[in-house]
């Protein structure tokens, strides 16, 4: 297991987990849906098509947030 941080909170996941897996695990507690979010991996936004191939490491910082569309 490794520890990483999702929106500043520690999360324990299997070694070699990818971003897609971490996000799927994290969104329920954040009350968000995968379609609505953008994901930041160590300060870099990762496009959705790359989530499954972005490998997570110990102490990685992940941010999840929703689109804001109002004007």
């Amino acid at each position: 297991m490794i520890t990483l941080y999702v929106n500043d909170l520690p999360v324990h996941v299997n070694k070699n987990s990818n971003l897609q897996q971490v996000l799927a695990l994290s969104i329920q507690s954040l009350n968000l849906q995968l379609d609505n979010i953008a994901a930041v991996h160590n300060q870099h936004l990762v496009p959705k098509s790359q989530w499954a191939i972005s490998v997570c490491n110990e102490n990685d910082q992940i941010e999840i947030f929703s689109a804001v569309a109002g004007g």
Partner: protein
């Protein structure tokens, strides 16, 4: 190249009017001329659109195109500052145009009480010779001030197709997001669709509520970003900027292009110019 389509030199009155802007070495008389020759399409004349149009008109942007099919409602007044009680029930695009036309005779304001659709945007670009010329000269920018995701995606796709720089701001509750999308200058940073997919269905101000000053903050940043982009002063094209109105804090994250994006797939892989060198505004001294 820098002088293409630059038709105006400043008269004495303009020199006085824009003196505090011209005083900035990054703007100078040349930069003010660029602003006066610039064409800006503002899509959505709500909270963001009102503020941004007011600021850009005051700054001396030469040509503004307002696009909105909505009518003014009472609940708009706390943040849509170009409207008052006499505007209620009237088209937003017309009311906003009337207000800003009176502000600055240097700004030519055109308005369209239309919803943004791909076909209307095509018609606008291809039937307006001046706009088409501005586009060819690299003097056209579009500002997304709309309030819903489908329109934001549509605007993004249209701008991406035509390589029109898009400055996107959004706001809801106490959150704001701002980004510059430019397929020529920063293709590697991708477009709006690279960031948020078409299936995203975020809530807007109508559901979440919003305060006028939060909207004004985002609109001011959008206006500042627009002026900086016109003057090639921007260095932050790769970022998504996120504002938190409760903490009064900004965060920025590096954007990346989605190699599978359907909106910007035709863009080159690298920038045609290095922003830091080729896009520096040519230095011209102000004669005081």
């Amino acid at each position: 190249m820098a002088d293409k389509g630059m038709t105006e030199t400043l008269n004495d009155n303009q020199f006085m009017q824009y003196y505090r802007q011209i005083l900035l070495s990054q703007v100078s008389e040349y930069g003010q001329q660029k602003l006066l020759n610039q064409h800006v399409i503002v899509v959505g004349v709500g909270g963001l659109g009102c503020h941004v149009t007011q600021q850009l008109t005051a700054a001396g942007i030469g040509h503004i195109y307002l696009l909105d099919d909505d009518l003014v409602e009472l609940s708009n007044l706390p943040r849509q500052i170009l409207f008052d009680v006499t505007s209620i029930g009237k088209p937003k695009a017309i009311c906003a145009a009337e207000k800003v036309i009176a502000m600055n005779s240097d700004t030519q304001v055109r308005y369209f009480c239309k919803k943004f659709t791909y076909s209307f945007a095509e018609e606008l670009l291809h039937t307006n010779a001046e706009l088409q010329q501005a586009h060819q000269n690299g003097q056209l920018i579009l500002l997304d001030c709309t309030d819903n995701m489908p329109t934001r995606q549509l605007i993004n796709a249209w701008c991406a197709t035509h390589f029109i720089p898009l400055i996107s701001a959004s706001v809801a509750a106490f959150s704001g997001q701002l980004l510059v999308i430019d397929g020529q200058v920063a293709p590697q940073s991708g477009c709006y669709h690279c960031l948020f997919g078409s299936n995203a269905n975020p809530q807007g101000c109508a559901n979440l509520g919003v305060l006028g000053p939060t909207v004004a903050t985002m609109a001011s940043m959008q206006a500042l970003t627009t002026i900086k982009h016109i003057l090639r002063l921007d260095t932050e094209l790769k970022y998504l900027h996120i504002f938190d109105g409760l903490q009064l804090s900004w965060r920025q994250f590096v954007r990346h292009r989605d190699p599978k994006c359907k909106s910007c797939g035709h863009w080159p892989s690298q920038s045609e110019n290095q922003l830091s060198s080729a896009h520096q505004i040519s230095p011209k001294k102000v004669n005081l």
